[in-house]
Symmetry: C2
Subunit: 259 residues, 2 copies
């Protein structure tokens, strides 16, 4: 019987790599080594996870049970082409890359995609974070399932096609949402109004969709078809070409959903 | 000495009117009457606040200390032109209308703007909701301050000009944010993926900005300048004209903020 997964190498020490390695380390697996092109990032994460570290491809530890690639998509492809991990058990953590990218390089591979927004300076508890996994065969999937279930109680197998859609949805729900906050902050700052003024509004907006569908939680001038406010706001944004376009297209999109 | 405010008439029984009347009623003021064009809405809110109700302009109670107009902006103007409340103490609850709209109609007037997103079917506690007030003179402002402080510990005087900016910021931070959730939900639904998958992501995105500036919380492919993902996502949205435009302009706007 094949021995179970224990020793893990983390390739990449960015926002996701840092959070994931920390969670895996805490759950009892051994992070043997952290690799990052940036030696300082590798060192910091290695310290957090009681691991060794390197910034040299040639020094990657060759006897680990699993190599987790927490790299930007284009870096994953570049990394695989270096062939340093040929025939090792590898997973990537990307929302968009199909699992098949590994095919030319290994016989045991998969995806380990935690659907969350991560920052290096805010280490998250993984208990409720959805972890979407995929493996090249049933046994690989079951190996990944075991690790995932050790860190989260919200694990599911998701195909490459569905994961890609989930990632696109996540970009809207998280990255674009955060940019809306950023624009709001900028509009307030210009008039010396504190961002604190809208923090309760931001919290309630996200609270609402804990229980109801977002389409039912929609409010605001576009939904009310209040053309007076819409045109006043467009005038207020006259000097902000990007913001004016965003205001116009998002309002149009909200309007198109109303009866 | 002029008697203090006690009897209040609520004009409008929509999302905001319903929440505000309920909070004011609970804090010990008397809602004597609810007016709404829709008799059923008036009745429901009147029941919640132990008030009388009417849907007829001619039956509005004429002896109240304060009339709160919780109406869409254009309805406020139409209402004032009916002159039913000439010379009464009136406030509106709008983020955008200047306080001066009341000038031709009264000598005591102001603004009572709770900066929050409201739904009729979710009655909120006002304790932490920012209430932005403005009055035509110091005494009116102090009258409004007293009422506002009875329902919220987050009250401030905000000029019409600043309130307009705060409202524009709120549209981005709340209405547009909720539409981003709606788009995400639609993208997931098409592939039969549950909205539950991204609920933890939505919560964490709003949690992050409790403590940090949103510009520092930004993540995602646009921030990373990951052109491969950006162009793949644009292709996935090929059939959604509105969403494609939103994706493109929001990404461009995020990119323009990165160094």
């Amino acid at each position: 019987m094949k021995k179970s997964i224990n020793k893990i190498v983390m390739i990449g020490a960015g926002n996701l790599g840092t959070n994931l390695a920390t969670a895996i380390h805490k759950s009892g697996y051994q992070i043997v080594q952290v690799f990052s092109r940036t030696s300082e990032s590798a060192r910091k994460l290695a310290k957090k996870t009681n691991a060794l570290y390197t910034s040299s491809l040639d020094e990657i530890y060759p006897y680990a049970d699993l190599y987790i690639l927490a790299l930007p998509d284009d870096a994953v492809l570049g990394f695989l082409k270096s062939k340093k991990l040929n025939n090792f058990f590898m997973v990537h953590t990307s929302g968009s890359l199909p699992v098949s990218v590994f095919k030319p390089f290994s016989n045991k591979f998969g995806v380990f995609y935690p659907l969350q927004t991560f920052s290096k300076n805010k280490i998250l508890n993984f208990t409720d974070i959805p972890v979407c996994i995929e493996g090249n065969d049933k046994r690989t999937e079951s190996d990944l399932m075991k690790i995932a279930k050790n860190i989260s109680r919200n694990v599911m197998v998701l195909s490459s096609e569905k994961r890609k859609q989930a990632h696109l949805a996540a970009v809207f729900a998280c990255n674009f949402t955060n940019h809306m906050y950023t624009i709001a902050d900028e509009i307030l700052s210009r008039k010396n109004i504190s961002f604190d003024l809208i923090r309760p509004l931001i919290q309630e907006t996200s609270e609402k969709v804990k229980l109801m569908k977002p389409a039912l939680a929609q409010t605001g001038p576009a939904l009310r078809k209040d053309k007076q406010i819409l045109s006043a706001h467009m005038k207020m944004l006259a000097k902000d070409e990007n913001y004016k376009k965003i205001y116009s297209f998002v309002s149009k999109s909200i309007l198109s959903k109303t009866k």
